[in-house]
């Protein structure tokens, strides 16, 4: 009796490095965005049409600065990683530079996100 085919958590421990991490984050962030946008659309509908309290509460959460930190991280990462994938997919001859591409992506992501967050925090402090 052979063992059942079961990868499960062992897959997470596989040392795939940067590109595998990027893929996992892309998936998770994509699903998160679907959830976020979907709920937002529906709650907007309820707020607009019925003035629902739950919907209003949800929108308050959405507008909090901490939630925005997360959303911006997710959206920015998904967009940048998506751009990397699109470029490599449409020009397969560039795939030999895939390792550099992953580095470049983080090189763009980290300052952009860092700057955004800094400005948001500064604004919050000024406003508060």
């Amino acid at each position: 009796m052979a063992l059942k085919r079961n990868v499960g958590l062992k897959g997470i421990k596989y040392r795939g490095g940067g590109p595998m991490l990027a893929w996992a984050l892309h998936r998770i962030s994509g699903l998160a965005i679907v959830l976020f946008v979907g709920l937002h659309v529906i709650s907007s509908f309820f707020m607009q049409q019925l003035g629902s309290d739950i919907a209003t509460a949800l929108n308050t959460v959405y507008e909090s600065i901490y939630f925005q930190f997360i959303v911006i991280f997710i959206v920015l990462f998904h967009a940048l990683n998506g751009l990397r994938v699109i470029i490599l997919d449409l020009w397969p001859q560039l795939i030999k530079f895939q390792r550099e591409a992953t580095w470049l992506q983080w090189l763009i992501f980290i300052p952009t996100y860092g700057m955004t967050v800094t400005i948001m925090i500064l604004n919050q402090l000024q406003g508060g």
């Binding site: 009796m1 052979a2 063992l3 059942k4 085919r5 990868v7 062992k10 897959g11 421990k13 596989y14 040392r15 795939g16 490095g17 590109p19 595998m20 893929w23 994938v85 490599l88 997919d89 449409l90 397969p92 001859q93 795939i95 030999k96 895939q98």
Partner: protein
């Protein structure tokens, strides 16, 4: 130097659950991991089972997960692992039969599904079919494949669904699709554009990193995707 190997053990007849066992051996920096496994089998525990044949990275028998990455045990030297402990586990996504031996049949089934042979019904000339060095170079990279399964079993898409043909099968298909002598490209591209074809590839690059033959696997898959889209075999 002293090295400890932490090896995945499973024997279906022992009634024991899968577990890890540790063996400490004296090793030279230039020893292959395979040499250490042979030493352990020969001196400590004869029941330790793994496949091996040529011992220099050409036959593709001894693909295993070493320190969390798919490698050939015969192509990895102790000095390249930088550490006193080496973890050895079977490759993922195929059923474990015993210790480091997995059931390769699903892998070869996927390989066979992409028509892995030259298709050309035109009458052959008396001598060789002509092919320029450039045409030959076009698919050179993918002829290196030894079917060790390092790539396919490093692919998260294959982990979650063994019906995905996997990188190795696509590499084989690529080798024929871009061979100027072949006439079966349309048939193969049709198979690969299906549900379990190239679009289950999400450019995760684990295959490229894992390949012991240094084939640009993801690039080959990308070229197949492009051929499906453009209908061009440039």
């Amino acid at each position: 130097m002293e090295v400890t190997l932490k090896i995945f053990r499973y024997n279906p007849e022992s009634g024991k659950k899968p577990h890890y066992e540790k063996y400490t051996v004296e090793a030279e920096p230039t020893d292959r991991v395979l040499d250490l496994l042979e030493y352990i089998k020969g001196n400590f525990d004869g029941t330790l089972s793994f496949r091996r044949s040529c011992a220099h990275g050409i036959c593709g028998s001894d693909a295993m997960r070493i320190n969390g990455q798919n490698r050939l045990a015969c192509k990895l030297l102790v000095k390249d692992l930088h550490g006193a402990q080496i973890t050895v586990e079977p490759i993922l996504g195929l059923r474990v039969i015993k210790d480091l031996i997995v059931d390769m049949e699903p892998f070869f089934e996927n390989y066979r599904s992409v028509l892995p042979y030259l298709i050309n019904d035109e009458p052959a000339p008396k001598k060789e079919r002509l092919q320029s060095p450039e045409e030959r170079e076009r698919f050179d990279d993918t002829t290196k494949c030894i079917l060790c399964a390092c790539c396919t079993t490093s692919c998260p898409s294959f982990w979650v669904n063994e019906k995905y043909v996997g990188p190795a099968a696509i590499v084989t298909a690529h080798r024929f699709i871009f061979d100027s002598r072949d006439r079966g490209a349309a048939e193969r591209l049709k198979i690969l554009s299906g549900q379990f074809g190239v679009y289950r590839c999400h450019t995760i690059f684990n295959c490229t990193t894992a390949c012991p033959r240094e084939i640009e696997v993801t690039q080959a898959i990308g070229e197949v995707k492009k051929a499906i889209g453009t209908g061009s075999l440039e």
